[in-house]
Each structure stands twice: as C-alpha cells, then as structure tokens.
C-alpha cells in the first residue's frame, strides 16, 4: 500500500494532540517542554509532507522545517536554562508550585 498524504497527516495530528494534552496535564516542567517539542515536530512534519506532495519541485517546506528545528533547539536551550534556575530557587519542577508571580 502506498503511503498517502493522509497517513502522514494522521500521525502529525496525533502528535499535535498528544503534545497539547501533555502540555495541559503533565506537572513536570521538563515533560511539558517535551510536549511542546511534540507540537512543533507535528508542524514540521506537515511542512515536509505538504512540500513533498503538493510542490515536489520546490524546497521551501524543507527549508522551513530545518529552520524551525534550529529555532526549536535554541528555544529549548533557553527553556532548560530557565528550568534549571527555577529548580535552584524552589527545589522542584512541579509547575503547580510555580505561582509566585501571580499578583
């Protein structure tokens, strides 16, 4: 059976939903960060898939994917730095405890 565009999209949709779900319910900050990665990767897959199936002679989608991966790497570095600092200050990664700045 040939792999159709729908199959890719189903996977990316599952990844997106899993990411959103994870972001909303996981209490560990690192797990939330991983969930964010999932969402972004789902988007990356969509870019690559649409490029391959709709415009096979062009490369914009691929480039955009690579560009997004680079940005995500940087973002992850910053996020982890923040998380480490938070851990040093409050000795926990539980996101429910991080409510000191609410008012």
């Amino acid at each position: 059976m040939e792999i159709q565009v729908e199959h890719y999209l189903i996977i990316s949709t599952i990844m997106l939903c899993a990411g959103i779900y994870g972001f909303l319910v996981r209490k560990n900050t690192l797990a939330m960060l991983i969930s964010v990665e999932l969402i972004l990767n789902a988007a990356d897959i969509n870019f690559a898939v649409f490029n391959k199936f709709l415009f096979p002679n062009q490369l914009e989608g691929h480039f955009f994917t690579l560009f997004a991966i680079g940005i995500v790497a940087a973002e992850t570095a910053v996020a982890i730095a923040i998380i480490i600092n938070i851990y040093r200050n409050i000795q926990t990664l539980n996101v429910d405890k991080m409510d000191k700045l609410k008012h």
Binding site: I20, F23, L24, M32, V95, D96, M98, D99, K102, H103
Partner: protein, 637 residues
C-alpha cells in the same frame, strides 16, 4: 500736595523692612526705626493739615483734593477700582488723629514692651496697622475703603494675638476677626448693591451731586418693600457696626483687650473702632439724601449700645474691660450724633460736626486712659482693680493724667470731652427730647463708672503689692503728658471752622440749658462715685450689689450676650444645620464615592481569581479560546 503719598508709603515700607529684616536688628534699633518713621509721618500729616486748612475756601467750602489717584482694576467703562488719596476735612482730621495717637503709642511701647519677645514683630505690626488705617481714611472710593478696612482687621487680629502662646489671646483674636469679618459681609454686599445702582465707587462722584439723578432713580426701586439704596446703606452700616462694636456685634471688643495695652489704646480705643463712625460720616450725604430711615436706626442702635455698655462698665472689675465698655459707649455717642441729623445744613446737621468733634477728643482722652491703664498694669502686673488701690502716692504723673482724662470723658469743663459731648447732647435734644435725656443719663453713667474706676485704682484700700509700685519710665510718661495737654486744650479748637456737614463755616455756641444740665448730672454722678468708692470700706456698693443682685449679676456677665451667641452658634447653627450637613457630606456624598470604590474593588477581586499563576490553566483557556474562534470562523464560512 503729592507728598501725602509719603504719609501712606512710609509705614508700609517700614512694615516690610521690620517684618523681613527686623529679627536681625536689636530691639532698640527696630523700635527707633518704627518710631522715627512714624514721627516723620506725623510731621507730614500736620503739615498737610496746615496746608489744607489754610488754603482758601471755594464757595465757603474746603475743596476736596485728590493729589494722587490711579486706576487699579477696571470692571467697565464707568466702574473701576482706584487706589488714591482723597483729602477733605474729615480725612485730614483723621490723619492727625491717627498719626498723633500712633506716634504716642510708638513712643510708649518703647518703654512698655521693653524686653518682650517679638519686639520687632510688634513694631512691624504697628506700622502695618498705621498704614492700613491711613489708607482707609484717605480712600478715594468705597472699594479702597473696603480693602484697607480688611487690612486694619487683619492687623488688629495680629496684634490682639500678639501673645500667641496664651490661649485666651488666640481665642480673642479669632473672635475679633470672625465677628468683624461677618459684619464685613454686609459691608461688601452694601458696596455691590450701591455701585450696581450708582455705577460708581468714587466718593467724589457720589457726593458732588453728579450722581444724584441716577441715585434718585434708584431710590424708587424697592426690594421687599424697602428702597434699594436703604438696603445698600443699611448693609454698609452693618459693616460699620461690626468694626465699631455696636450692639449686637460688640462682643469682640472687650475680649480684644487681651492684646498688649498700647495696642488697645491705638486700635481698640482711638482709631480702628471709630472706622465705622468714619464710614457713616463719609457716606453721610447719601444717608441724609436717600436713606434717612437708616439714620434713625443708626441713632437707636447707637443709643441702645451706649446705654447697654455703660451699665456693664459700672460693674466690671478688669480695668481694661471697663475702658473697653466705655469705648463702646462713647462710640455709641458718635453714632447717635450722626443718626440724629436731619439735613445737610449746619443746624440740622449739627450732629455730624459733633460726632467728628467727639471722635477727635475721644481718641485723645481714651488713648490717654488706656496708656495710663497700661502704666498702672506695668507697675502692679495685674488688670484687676482689687490688686490696685492707693496708687496715687506711688504714681503721681499717671494719677494726674488719668484724672484729667476721667474729667474729660465725664464732661467737666474746660476739658475737651465737655465740648464735644455737649454738642452731641444739643443735637440729640434737637432731634427728640427723649433721645436727649437718654444721652444725658448715659453721660451721667459715664461719669459714674469712670470715677468708680479712678477711685478704685488711685484711692480706696491699698492692695498688698509684691514690691512697691513706682512711677513708669519717661518713655511711658511723656506720651501721657502730651496727650493730657491735648485733652485739656483740645476742646477749645473751633471745630466748626474745619468740619461741618455742609462744609460751611459754623461757630460752635454752647446751649446753656444743655450745658448746665449735663455738667450738673456729671458732677452729681462724680459725687455719688466719690461717696461710694473713695473710702477704704466700700459698703454702699456692696449693699446695692446685694439688693439688686439679679441686675448686678447680669451686668457682670455682660447681659449674657456671649452666652446667647454661644447658644445660637453651638446649639442652633452647629447642631441643627452644620451637623446634619456634615452628616450628609460624610454619609451620602462620601458614601456614594465609597460605594463606587468598593464595588470596583470587589469586582476586581472576583476577576483576580483568573490570574492563578498556573501556566497550564492559562494554556487551557488559551486553547478553549482558539477552539471557540475556529468554531466561529467555520460557522461563518
């Protein structure tokens, strides 16, 4: 005569100088600065008077001169407030009175206030007062009068409260300021009403007949059944009554005696308190021409005040308060004299001349009495009669000068008070015999209480003194002697040659019947006072006091007028009007604002829950929002 401007400016400059730089000067230097500048002012005033009264008469009248005038505020073409100097017989006479008494007080204070804290401030305030009072009398228009009228009020307030660490002095200064300020409201409304109808503030324009047509037209208009001009002039009289301590606005004057004694002599006996009389005299042309009814009210108020305060003066024991009530009584005499006039010519307007004459002589002998009282207080350190007695041996100069002043105020010839009081009595008899007899009785009472005071201080039982009283220093006795000389000879001034209601020359002639009656009454009163108070044991007054205990007690308490004011202000105005208004303000107005604030606050509190600090909640709401927006877009498409 432009140099008259210096008369006005010199005290003003001295006030600024002593007020700003005084604390750097030594006491003596500051005092000398004030006194010398006032000496110059006095010389200039005398020179002005000499030049003015020797200048030729025009149509038999001394011309009104305006040596200096500039427009200060312009409301409309016709209505503008000027600041200037108007010289006419009464203002020149007042210049002399004010500068003389003020100079005496300046010299006197060098001795009396010696070593007091705030000596420089005292002289600065004296200069301010002199400036304001001079500005008041030379005003060219009613508005300038009003401005300086308030200025004398302020300087009086400052000087009454000179001993600002003493609670009674502070209370007295506030009382004086508030009561006169309250009366000045009437004055201001009167000015506005009058100028609204006459379209001018200027005295000259009001008095020289050029406004008569307008005023006659205005006189036909009425408000509540009374002519508008009567309203205006009546309201002005309320202002005058406040300043001149007429019943029922007299309550501030006795309390004002809390100030230093020389201040009482200058402000609360000789000059400021006669400002009301001066104002009525200034507007006399209008009173006679357009509101004769108001003049009658003035006469009645004056007579009643005079009688009322003379009775109180008979029982007071604080010597300064006796003098204060006697001042009120004598100002009542002046008001009566103005009130009993029926026309402008010299005979019908005899009271006008008499009033001004009495103002002049009274200023001199009352200043003398107060300064004498100050000299006594300086010696025995008390205001109470019981701490005095038998002082004639210790203080001969004060004794003699005080006696001269007492004889003058009692109306014994040849002292000055006799002549002026006699003119007032003659005018009163001409108006109405009942008024004449009332005033004669009051004159008798005056003689009685003055000699009660005299005997209690200088004769009677000797009080125990901490140290033997001694005569005051020269700075105190010299003003006493000068004023005593003026008091002895002042009555011989041919006053009718200078000041009369119509400005024409008038020869004062004593009405023998009136003169003899008043002298007999005065001598009888003095005799009674002698029997009552000369002895060491004062049995008769004590017995009388017991028999008429009700009257005696009421008079001692000043007929409960202060209590009535207290009742009206506290129980009626404060309790029935102010408290409900304050409640309304605090509960309704403030309550409405508080309700708005608190409802906003509670709303914010309920919204605040949304900001929980839980990132995942935010993300969830964010997600819901996105779903909602996508749903909306899908629906629309």
């Amino acid at each position: 005569m432009e140099y008259t401007l210096i008369i006005l400016l010199l005290p003003a400059i001295m006030f600024l100088f002593l007020g700003l730089a005084g604390h750097k000067l030594k006491h003596k230097v500051a005092g000398l600065f004030g006194t010398i500048s006032l000496g110059l002012v006095t010389c200039l005033s005398y020179f002005t008077a000499w030049e003015y009264f020797t200048s030729p008469r025009v149509n038999g009248v001394f011309e009104k001169i305006i040596p200096f005038n500039f427009e200060w505020l312009s409301f409309s073409e016709a209505l503008h407030v000027d600041i200037g100097i108007l010289l006419d017989p009464i203002s020149v006479m007042m210049l002399i009175v004010i500068s003389t008494v003020s100079l005496m007080v300046h010299i006197y204070s060098l001795g009396y206030m010696h070593g007091e804290k705030g000596f420089q401030r005292y002289y600065a305030f004296l200069s301010l007062f002199t400036f304001s009072m001079l500005g008041l009398v030379v005003a060219t228009n009613i508005f300038q009068t009003y401005i300086f009228w308030e200025l004398v009020g302020v300087s009086s307030y400052l000087l009454i409260g000179f001993y600002y660490t003493k609670p009674s002095a502070i209370a007295a200064s506030k009382k004086a300021f508030i009561v006169t300020r309250f009366a000045d409201l009437g004055f201001l409304i009167g000015i506005l009403v009058l100028s609204f109808y006459s379209q001018t503030f200027s005295f000259v324009e009001l008095m020289n007949g050029s406004s008569d047509a307008i005023l006659t037209g205005a006189a036909t208009q009425t408000f509540l059944g009374i002519g508008v001009l009567s309203w205006a002039l009546g309201l002005m009289f309320i202002g005058a009554a406040g300043k001149s301590a007429m019943f029922p606005l007299h309550i501030w004057l006795p309390d004002a005696m809390e100030g230093p004694t020389p201040v009482s002599a200058l402000i609360h006996a000789a000059t400021m308190v006669v400002a009301g009389v001066y104002l009525v005299a200034r507007m006399f042309y209008l009173y006679i021409g357009f509101a004769p009814g108001v003049l009658e009210i003035i006469a009645i108020v004056g007579a009643f005040t005079s009688l009322f305060s003379a009775i109180i003066a008979c029982v007071q024991t604080d010597i300064k308060r006796v003098l204060a009530f006697s001042t009120i009584s004598q100002i009542g005499f002046m008001m009566v004299a103005l009130g009993v006039c029926t026309g402008m010519d010299s005979h019908e307007g005899l009271g006008y001349m008499a009033s001004m004459f009495h103002l002049f002589t009274h200023a001199m002998f009352k200043a003398l009495l107060f300064l004498g009282a100050g000299s006594i207080i300086h010696a025995v350190h008390s205001n109470e009669m019981k701490d005095m007695g038998g002082l004639r041996k210790f203080m001969p100069i004060t004794h003699i000068t005080f006696l001269i002043a007492c004889l003058a105020i009692a109306g014994i010839p040849p002292f000055s008070g006799f002549f002026s009081k006699d003119e007032i009595l003659a005018a009163a008899f001409k108006f109405n015999p009942a008024m004449g007899w009332t005033m004669t009785v009051i004159a008798g009472l005056t003689a009685f209480y003055m000699f009660r005071l005299y005997f209690n201080i200088f004769w009677g039982k000797e009080a125990k003194h901490h140290h033997t009283p001694h005569e005051s220093p020269l700075t105190i006795t010299i003003p006493l002697i000068i004023l005593a000389i003026v008091t002895i000879f002042g009555g011989f001034i041919p006053f009718g040659h200078f000041i009369t209601s119509d400005g024409l020359l008038y020869n004062i002639h004593l009405d023998p019947q009136v003169a003899i009656t008043s002298v007999v009454v005065a001598v009888l009163s003095i005799a009674i006072a002698t029997i009552f108070y000369k002895n060491k044991e004062q049995k008769i007054p004590a017995m009388l006091g017991e028999k008429l205990s009700g009257l005696h007690k009421a008079a001692t308490k000043k007929f409960y007028i202060d209590e009535v004011y207290q009742f009206i202000t506290h129980r009626i105005i404060f309790a029935c009007i102010s408290t409900p208004i304050a409640w309304f303000d605090r509960h309704i107005v403030d309550g409405f604002m508080n309700l708005m604030a608190s409802s906003t606050q509670s709303l914010s509190y309920s919204i605040r829950k949304f900001q929980s600090g839980h990132v995942q909640q935010y993300a969830f709401v964010f997600l819901l929002g996105i779903i909602f927006i996508i749903g909306l877009i899908l629906l629309v498409i």
